[in-house]
Amino acid sequence: MIKKIVDYLDTPERVRIIKGLFLASLVLLVVLDLFVDKHPYFEWAGFTGFSALCGFASCALIVLVSKSLGKLWLQKKEDHYD
């Protein structure tokens, strides 16, 4: 059954639909944020879409920092210790 579902979704057209749904859900989540009863731990973290911003910015920051550290220092050829 799982195989059938995976095969069913595995066309460029349907993958595009999934992408569309994903982007729509981003908008939906920020809109939903307006309606939920919020209890932020910190006042400055209470604005609508804080978590969205936090998620996106964190990832950008993490990728930036990791890649820089890797390029400049940490990443070595696979036979480094051989």
Binding site: V6, I62, K76
Partner: protein, 594 residues
Amino acid sequence: MISYLPPALIFILGAALIPLLQGRTRQVYVVFLPLLGLLNLMALPEGATWVFNFMNYELILCRVDNLTMVFAYIFVIMTLAGAIFALHLKQPGELVAGFLYAGSSLGVVFAGDLFSLFIYWEVMALASVMLIIARKTKGASAAGGRYIMVHLFGGLLLFAGIVMHITETGSMAFDFIGLSGLASSLILAGFALNAAIPPLSAWLSDAYPESTVVGTVFLSAFTTKTAVYVLARGFPGTELLMWAGAIMTLYGIVYAILENDMRRVLAYSIINQVGFMITGIGIGTALALNGAASHAFAHILYKALLMMSAGAVLYMTGKSKCTELGGLYKSMPITMILCCVGAASISSFPLTGGFTTKSMIVSAAGYEHFTAIWLILMVASAGVFLHAGIKFPYFVFFAKDSGLRPKEPPLNMLVAMGFLAFLCIAVGVYPQPLYALLPYPVDYVAYTGDHVVGQLQILFFSALAFFMLLKWLKRTETISLDTDWVYRRALPALLSLIGPPAATMSNRVGVFFIETIPKALVWFGQNPTGITKVALYRTFIAGRTRTSKAASDRELALIRKNGPSLVLRPWSIGSAIAFVTLFLGLYLIFYYLF
């Protein structure tokens, strides 16, 4: 009649029987053993039982209190899943090591005293290294060697700390220790090493990915989580741990982002996840400790599930580098779906185990208004999704088509993964039974609109960032330097630098003591009085006049040529008496002083 046993004994004694059994009997037996362990847990009474007296101290093999059972249950459940996952194995070795490892971990959890804790602690190290070298590759034995050295070093710290602690307090009981003074620092360092707190963490990411398909699954569960348990008991509320944990969450992410080997990505994500638990222990409030314990429970479920799916891929393809994998969803869809359940759970998707447990720790940081810690945990929550939630399944099962078309793994592997996936979702949907096991009463509600929407925003926008930054996240055929560099590169380099001069020096010292001095003594013994006389003569008289100098030189040349025994010169009574007097004087001084 005794209706229950110390849980460790069932697995440790049970492991001894495994090699005697064959085929189907063995398969039934290794599944039966954890089930027996589960029944035994249900029969355990509160308090300390199986107490023995040992040199005026109490050994407690079965201490049950509010912190014990949550770890005990997950360890036994994990052993069951691991045993099912290992059913296809023809050789008994890994199963024996696995049960010994799980048993000694249970021993640590139920140990009420520091002595038996230490014994089980060391058995864990030995059993786990067997799982690593069982891979039987050069890389695995080298990594296993490094692994056991690091753990023996950690055990040494722990042992020194325990001995000092017992001398100071006069008690061997293992309860709250708290960070104060050298003894507790050493114990903390020993615990921290097993919890993989950087810089004492490289053993984990170095060795776990080198282990066997089955071995890594067992490894991912026990060592770090027993360390979480002992830290939660011995050092709750230690501020240092709060910061160490927060750093761990980020440390694991940075390396997991850079790493190419899929099982090493998951190994680094253990460091990240244990970081959340350590932070919870450091915060030390009831909510935070509940969070740490329950997150350990959920973490074992989904991490083992992820390690199993990685193991299944490795088992079927023989490959573990992201650069060599990809597109496997076509031929391994069931593995892919089960892996995604684990990935969703580690990312704390609502309706999975990660959501109902990790959010307690983050909330605890928020309630206590630790702004920096809370922010780090938020960043790390997004980062978890980035490296383990998306990156791992994406590069293994999707991304480019590697052309590999492996079949699904053996049925026992799928069953084990399905079992864990079911539990991941069960804990997420209905966490109350888990909450009932926690150290403190739980009045925490995970499913509020605020939490759910907030968490989904973090996750979906992290996913957006992932796909936007995909170009940057492409895997490269590299490894990353970690603190194991210190003992893989720096120490050997230092040794080779100071080695030759040190060896020469040591050689010279050796030659001096075992050659030069004895030779001189033998030479001196041939004619002691003659030599002494010549020496005294040369020191005090020769050189005063030209003739005496010339005579002495002749004499010396003679001695050098023929040896001292040939230079026999008549002794005057006076010089003989002078010698006797000198030695008597020396003897007197010697006698007086000592």
